[in-house]
Symmetry: C3
Subunit: 343 residues, 3 copies
C-alpha cells in the first residue's frame, strides 16, 4: 500500500488518546500488522494475543489499548486508545475516502430513471443504471453502475449498491445496507410441481426483505418468497456466492461465509455462524447462536448454541473424535483380523 497520511491528521482522529514517544516520519506510508510493519508504517494491537509482537515491531506509529504499559522504541509513536480495532476502522474510513472518493450526488447522464421513481437528497446513480417505476432510493444512497432497481423496490438511507446489482421488483432493502457487485435479490424461487406433463412451475409472488445494516457479498443470490417474504435480518453479513432459497428467514447478526447454500423455508435464528460451503436442507430451524462448521451438511433442526460439523452433521467434538478414529480404522481392521486367529 502506498499511502501518504500526516501523523498529525491521525492524532486528530483520537482527541482522547494517550500519546507517547515520537515518530521519525511526518507522514505514514502504509498500514501493516505488527510482524510485517516497516519504518513509515502504522501498525496496531487489535488482539491482545499478539501483545509480544509490539516490542519488536518496526512501525513508526502503533495504535495500542490503554492498558499496554511498555514504552515505545526510539523513533516510534504510541497512540493508546480505548479500542484500537475501532480506531483502526476510523482511520481506514478516512483513508478510504481519500483512496476512493465516493461518487458525488447526482444521476449519471447515461442512467435511466423512470418518471415515477423517487430519489431522496444526496443520492448518486451510476452509469447505465436502470430505476424502475415507483422505485425509491433513500437519502445518500449510492447506486453503482449497471444496477437494476426493479419496479416498486425500495433502498433505505445510506445504502450502497456496488456495480451490477440486480434488485428485482418489489423488494425492500433497509438502511446502511451494502450489496456487493453482481448480487441478485428477488430471483424466482426454485419450486415445481411434478405433473404428467413434466415439472410445472410454481409462481413466486413474494418478495425479499433485507433489513438495516446487512452486507451481502459479490454474486450472492437471494430468491423471492412464494407468497410472503424471504428475510435477511438486521446486521447479518453474507459473504460471496451464497445461495438463499425462497422463504428463508435469517435472523439478526448472523455470519454466513462464502458459498453456503440455504434451501427454501429454512429459519435461522439470531447470531448463527455458518462456515463456508456448508449446506442446509429445506424447512429446517437453526437455533440462536448455533455454529456450523465449513462444508457441514445440515439435514435436521439445530439446537440453539449447538456447534456442528460434517455430513451428516454431528456435535463438533464427536465429529473430531470420529475423524481421529477413522484414521485408525486400518489398524482396527488388522487387529480384529488377528484376534480372530488366536481363538
Amino acid at each position: 500500500m502506498n499511502l501518504s497520511v500526516r501523523v498529525k491528521d491521525i492524532l486528530n482522529l483520537f482527541p482522547d488518546a494517550e500519546v507517547s514517544g515520537s515518530s521519525q516520519v511526518e507522514k505514514i506510508s502504509g498500514i501493516a500488522n505488527l510482524r510485517d510493519a516497516k519504518v513509515g508504517d502504522l501498525s496496531f494491537l487489535g488482539n491482545s494475543k499478539y501483545k509480544n509482537q509490539v516490542q519488536h515491531c518496526r512501525a513508526s506509529v502503533i495504535l495500542l489499548p490503554q492498558d499496554y504499559s511498555a514504552p515505545p522504541s526510539q523513533n516510534q509513536l504510541f497512540i493508546k486508545i480505548n479500542k484500537p480495532s475501532r480506531g483502526l476502522a476510523q482511520l481506514c474510513e478516512l483513508l478510504e475516502a481519500k483512496l476512493c472518493p465516493p461518487e458525488k450526488p447526482g444521476v449519471h447522464p447515461t442512467a435511466f430513471v423512470e418518471e415515477s421513481a423517487v430519489l431522496e437528497p444526496g443520492v448518486s446513480i451510476g452509469a447505465f443504471t436502470y430505476l424502475g417505476k415507483g422505485a425509491i432510493i433513500g437519502s445518500n444512497g449510492k447506486i453503482g453502475t449497471h444496477c437494476h432497481i426493479g419496479r416498486g423496490s425500495t433502498v433505505g438511507d445510506g445504502s450502497v449498491l456496488h456495480p451490477g446489482v440486480k434488485l428485482l421488483s418489489r423488494c425492500q432493502i433497509g438502511k446502511n445496507v451494502v450489496l456487493n457487485a453482481g448480487v441478485v435479490i428477488g430471483s424466482e424461487g426454485y419450486g415445481f410441481d411434478q405433473t404428467d406433463e413434466g415439472h410445472q412451475k410454481i409462481p413466486h409472488l413474494g418478495i425479499v426483505v433485507v433489513e438495516d445494516g446487512v452486507e451481502i457479498g459479490a454474486n450472492t443470490c437471494i430468491d423471492r418468497a412464494r407468497f410472503e417474504k424471504t428475510k435477511i435480518g438486521q446486521g447479518s453479513k453474507l459473504d460471496n456466492l451464497v445461495q438463499v432459497g425462497h422463504n428463508v428467514q435469517i435472523g439478526q447478526n448472523c455470519l454466513i461465509v462464502a458459498q453456503v447454500g440455504i434451501s427454501g423455508s429454512v429459519i435461522m435464528e439470531d447470531n448463527v455462524i455458518v462456515g463456508g460451503q456448508a449446506g442446509f436442507a429445506g424447512h429446517l430451524k437453526v437455533g440462536k447462536g448455533a455454529k456450523i462448521a465449513g462444508q457441514a451438511g445440515i439435514t435436521k433442526d439445530v439446537e440453539p448454541g449447538a456447534f456442528l460439523k460434517g455430513n451428516p452433521a454431528l456435535p463438533f467434538h464427536l465429529a473430531q473424535r470420529i475423524a481421529v478414529l477413522q484414521r485408525k480404522l486400518p489398524d482396527l481392521f488388522n487387529r480384529f483380523a488377528q484376534e480372530k486367529f488366536r481363538e
Copy 2:
C-alpha cells in the same frame, strides 16, 4: 402479502369447480398454507398428507381436490377442482400479471440492437440490453435490462431473460425458457494442455443448446463445448449458482438444485434429481432417474434409478447405515480395547 382479488374473479378461473359454503369476504387479501392462513386469505390442499389441517384452517377460501368430502366451516368457501396445485398456479399467474405487469412489446430507447438482429412480433427488449449481429429473438420473448445476446445467438418464442443475462455468441435457447438474473451461457470451457511453457489454453469453439421449457437459476454458468455442444435437455430445471462444464449433456426433466457442480463431458440421462452442492467428476454417465443427495461427490458412473449419497458416494441406505455406525466408533474402539484385556 397484500392482495386484493375478488372471489368472483377467482371463481371465474375455475368454471368446472364444485363450490360449497360461502366466503364472508368479497375479496381475498392474501394466500397462505393451511396452517398459517387467516380470515381473508385463500388456502389450498396441494398434498393429501395435509388433509387433516383443512378442518382447522381459518382461510376464507380453500382450493380442494374433488374427493375432499367434509363440509366447509362457517363463512368459508370451498372450491373443489381436479388439481388444486394446478389451480393455485393458475391463480398465481393471474396475480403475477397484476403485481408485476410484463413489459410492453418494444425496444427500450437505451437498448442497442445491431442491424442484422431479428425481433419477432411481441418481443420486449429492456434498458441497456445489447443484441449482437444476427441474433434472433422469437415471438413474445422478454429480454430484461443489461442483457447481452451474442452474435448469432437465438432465443425461442416466449422465453424470458431476466436482467443481466449474458448469452454469448452462437448459443441456442429454446422456447419458453427462463434464464434468471446473472446467468452466463457460453463461457469458455476450462481446458488446458500442460506444456513446458505452462498451461496452454484449448480453444472452445462449440456452443450451448438450451432446449424448450428449461429454467436456469440466478448466476448459474454453462460453458460452451470444445467442438460440439453443451446441452440442457427439455424441461430440465437448474437452480442458482450451478456450474455446468463444457460438453456436458443433461437429459430431459432433470432437477438440479443450487450450487451443484457438473464437470466437463458428464452425460446425465432424463429425470435425474441432484441435491444442492453435489459434485460430479468429468466424463461420467448418470443413468435415467438416478437421485443424488445434496453434497454427494460422484466419481464413477451412476446406474439408472440409483440413489446415492456421500463422498465417495454410496447407495443411500448403506450410506445412512454407515453414518449410524460411525457414531458408534468411539464405543467400538473402547469395547475392542477391553475385549483384548480379557484374553
Copy 3:
C-alpha cells in the same frame, strides 16, 4: 459443428509437417475425437494412450505425432507434426477468428469513458461499458459489453474481458489475461469486528493483482485485500464460480477448478491443483505442487507435493483405504457382536 475449412489452409498452418495419404474432401466440415469422427472431419492424436483408435478412425484428416508409424486408410490424410495438441490449438485459433471475429478496435458509441481514462492502440470497448477515471487499457485489450473498469484500474496488453466483468477500483490486471463473463474483481473483503453493537465492518483498502496469462471463469469473485493485495500468480487458471478471499496469495500456474472456496489470507504456492468444490480455511499455506481432490476440506497447512482428499483431508491413498473400510463397517460391527458371544 458445421465448419468449412479448406484442407489446403490447414496444411499451410504446418509448413514443417510430414504429410501422407490424401483426403477425399477438399474442405473439412468438423473436428472430433478419434472415436466420434466421421468422413469430412479432422481428428487428432493428442494423447498416446488413444493410439489404437487411429486405425479405426474415419476422419478425413488426422493430426498425428511424428513417431506414429502406421499408414493412413484410403482417402485419409495424415499430418504428422511435432505436437498435435499444439497444432490443434493453432487450428482452433484460426477457426475461432472465423466463427467469432473479434471486435474491431474502437469504442462502442454507447460506452462511457471518463476523460482521464487511457486507451492504448488497438483497444476495443463494448456497448454500455464504463471506464472510470484514470483507468488504463493496454494495447489490443478487448473489453466486452456491460463491463465496469473502476477508477484507477489497469488492464495489461492483449487482455480480454468478457461481458459484464466488474473490475472495481485500483485493481491491476496483467497482460494476456482472460476474465470470463460476470467475474468480480476487487469486491470488499469479508471481515468484521465483533462489538457490543453488532458486527463492525473492517474497511478493505487493498487491491487485487492478477498477473500475466491468468484466466478466470465466469462469475468468479476475488476480494480486495485489507491493506495490501490479493494476488493471482502468473499463468494460473481459475474456473467458474470460484471464491477467493481477501489477502489470498495464489502462486504461478495453479489450476483451480469450479466452485472452490479459498478463505482469507491463504498462501498457495506454485503449481497447486485444486479439484472442484474444495474449500480452504483461512490463513493456511499450501505447498508447491500440492494436489487437492474435489470437495476436500483443508483446515491445516499442506506440505509441498502432498495429495489430499476428504474432510478432514487425509493423504489420498489413506483416504481411499478408509473409504473402503467404511463400507465394511456394517460387517465389522456384526462380526464383533458375534465374537463376543463366543467368549
